[in-house]
C-alpha cells in the first residue's frame, strides 16, 4: 500500500519541475543531462526535508572562523572563547539547579495554579519548556563537538572496502556521529556506492543516521532517565545493523537505478583541520541552527503533552496503547511512517502518552517509526533505488521496529 503511494509520489517528484527554474540552471541543464543518462539524475524537486543540522564542515566551515567577521569577532577578540564557554557552562548549571524550585514557586505561589485540570496542564507546560530547552542546548552543543570530528567524506573513507557485519556495525555507529541531512541522502548514497561500500553497509548508515537522533536521545534521557535513552540507542543500533545486514544478504544490488552505476566521483576538496576554537564555533553554530529551528516544535509538542496531561483521564491510554492491546504496536508503526516530525516535537507527546498508561514498547515503536522512516526520505531515495528495494528497506526496518516494540512490552 505504502509503496504505491511512494511510486506515484516519486513520479511526481520526477516530473519536470518548476522549482528553482532560474535561467542559468535551465541553461545548464541540457548539457548536464546530455553527458549522463536522461532524467532521474537531474530532478530538481526535492520534498521539504527537515535538515536540522548545519551539516558539513568540510571544505570551508573553518574558513570563516580565523578572521571571523562582524560583531562576533570583535567580541571574541576581547574575551577568549574558553572564558565565554566557562561562563556559559556555569550559567547553565545554575539554571538547571534552580529550575525546579523556581518553577514551583512561580506555579504555586505566584500564579496560584490549583490541582485542577487547567492548573496541572499549565504547570506541566511551564516546567517542561525551560527544562527541555536547557537540555536541548547542552546536548546539541555536545553532539556538535563530536560531529566536528566527522564528515561524510571521512565516513566514506572509513567504510570503503569494509566487509559485511563489521561494516554494518561501523556504519551504524558512524550514522550517529556523522553530520547528516535528508537532503544530502542522494549524494551520500552515490558517494558510498562509488567508493565500493557494500549496499547493506550503506543501508545501515542510512537507517541509523536519522533514527538515532541526538535531540531525541537527550530528551529521552532528561524526561525518562538514562535507561530509556540507552534502550533507544541500543535498539536503534540493533535495527540499523540487522536491517542493513539483511538488505545486504538479499543481494539487491540490481535494484539500484541504472544511472547510479555510471557515477564517477571527483576528488573531494581537502578538509581543513579544525582547532578547538573552530570546533567550539562549529558546535555553537549547530546550537544556533538546530535550536533556532526546533524550539517552536518543542513548545508546541509540550503544549500538546500538557493538554493530554491535564485533560486526558488517567489510564485512558492503557486500553488503547497498553500492553494488553497486541495490535497497538503495528498500529503505532503504521501511523508513524507517514508522519514526519522532528524528534524534539514528538518527545513531549511520548511523555504524555506514557504517563497515561501507554506501554513503553508501543510508544517507542511509534516514535522510531515517526523519526526513522519518513516519507520525504523515501521519496528522495526513489531517485536512486527501484521500488522493490525501497519496499524491502521499509519492510525490514518496520519489522525491526515492530520487534522492538513487542520486546519491550514483553520485558518491561
Amino acid at each position: 500500500m505504502s509503496t504505491d503511494a511512494v511510486t506515484s509520489a516519486g513520479r511526481t517528484g520526477g516530473a519536470p519541475s518548476l522549482a528553482s527554474a532560474d535561467e542559468t540552471a535551465a541553461a545548464r541543464e541540457p548539457d548536464a543531462t546530455a553527458q549522463t543518462t536522461p532524467s532521474p539524475a537531474s530532478t530538481p524537486a526535492i520534498p521539504a526535508c527537515a535538515c536540522d543540522t548545519a551539516a558539513g564542515h568540510g571544505a570551508a566551515a573553518g574558513r570563516g572562523s580565523p578572521g571571523g567577521s562582524g560583531r562576533a569577532s570583535r567580541w571574541a577578540a576581547r574575551v577568549p572563547l574558553w572564558l565565554w564557554l566557562a561562563l556559559a557552562v556555569g550559567a547553565w548549571g545554575v539554571a538547571w539547579h534552580w529550575l525546579a524550585p523556581f518553577i514551583d514557586w512561580l506555579a504555586y505561589d505566584v500564579l496560584r495554579l490549583g490541582d485542577g485540570r487547567f492548573g496541572s496542564a499549565v504547570a506541566f507546560f511551564i516546567y517542561d519548556v525551560p527544562k527541555v530547552m536547557l537540555l536541548l542546548v547542552a546536548v546539541v552543543f555536545g553532539v556538535g563537538i563530536l560531529r566536528s570530528f566527522f564528515s561524510p567524506e571521512r565516513t566514506r573513507h572509513l567504510l570503503a572496502g569494509r566487509r559485511e557485519l563489521v561494516g554494518n556495525v561501523m556504519a551504524s555507529g558512524l550514522g550517529i556521529a556523522t553530520p547528516f541531512c535528508t537532503c544530502s541522502a542522494i549524494p551520500l548514497f552515490l558517494g558510498f556506492v562509488e567508493a565500493g561500500v557494500p549496499l547493506g553497509v550503506t543501508f545501515s548508515f542510512l537507517i541509523a543516521a536519522p533514527m538515532i537522533n541526538e535531540v531525541a536521545l537527550v530528551l529521552l534521557a532528561g524526561l525518562f532517565g538514562w535507561q530509556v535513552a540507552a534502550l533507544y540507542v541500543g535498539t536503534g543500533l540493533f535495527i540499523a545493523i540487522t536491517a542493513g545486514w539483511i538488505v545486504g544478504r538479499l543481494g539487491m544490488e540490481r535494484y539500484i537505478q541504472d544511472w547510479v552505476r555510471d557515477i564517477r566521483m571527483g576528488e573531494s576538496a581537502s578538509e581543513e583541520k579544525l582547532d578547538w576554537n573552530g570546533r567550539v564555533r562549529y558546535a555553537l553554530q549547530a546550537v544556533r541552527d538546530i535550536v533556532g529551528k526546533v524550539w517552536l516544535y518543542v513548545v508546541l509538542g509540550i503544549a500538546v503533552g500538557a493538554a493530554i496531561h491535564g485533560y486526558v483521564p488517567e489510564n485512558f491510554m492503557a486500553g488503547i496503547m497498553g500492553e494488553s492491546a497486541w495490535w497497538s504496536v503495528p498500529a503505532g508503526v503504521l501511523m508513524g511512517v507517514p508522519m514526519y516530525s522532528n524528534a524534539a516535537g514528538i518527545i513531549p507527546i511520548v511523555e504524555a502518552l506514557l504517563e497515561k498508561g501507554a506501554a513503553l514498547g508501543t510508544v517507542l515503536a511509534f516514535m522510531m517509526a515517526v523519526i526513522g522512516l519518513s516519507l520525504p526520505e523515501i521519496i528522495i531515495l526513489r531517485k536512486v533505488l527501484r521500488w522493490q528495494l525501497i519496499a524491502v528497506f521499509v519492510g525490514v526496518v518496520a519489522a525491526g521496529i515492530l520487534g522492538v516494540g513487542y520486546l519491550f512490552n514483553l520485558v518491561l
Binding site: A19, A25, T36, T37, C51, G56, A60, A61
Partner: protein, 81 residues
C-alpha cells in the same frame, strides 16, 4: 569568475543561491557568472557529498551548509585574491 551552486533544488540550495547573488551584487563583481548545478552525476564529479555546496571557478569552497553572509563574503573575496 564562475560560481556554481551545487544542489538538487532543496530549500537550502535555493537559499545559498540567493545569498550568493546578494554577496556578488554587494561586492560589485561584474564578471560573475552564477550557475546552479542540479544534476547529481555532475555534483558528484565535484567530489561533493553534502549539499548545498559552492564551487568557484571549478574549486569547491563550501559544502553542506548555508553560511552566514559575512562568511560567504570572506569566501568569495579570498577566492578573488
Amino acid at each position: 569568475m564562475k560560481l556554481e551552486i551545487l544542489g538538487s533544488g532543496c530549500a537550502n540550495c535555493d537559499k545559498l543561491e540567493a545569498l550568493t547573488r546578494e554577496v556578488i551584487a554587494e561586492l560589485g563583481i561584474a564578471d560573475a557568472e552564477i550557475g546552479h548545478v542540479t544534476d547529481y552525476a555532475e555534483i558528484m564529479r565535484y567530489g561533493v557529498m553534502s549539499t548545498p555546496a559552492l564551487a568557484i571557478d571549478g574549486k569547491v569552497v563550501l559544502t553542506g551548509k548555508v553560511p552566514s553572509k559575512a562568511d560567504l563574503t570572506t569566501i568569495v573575496t579570498s577566492a578573488l585574491a
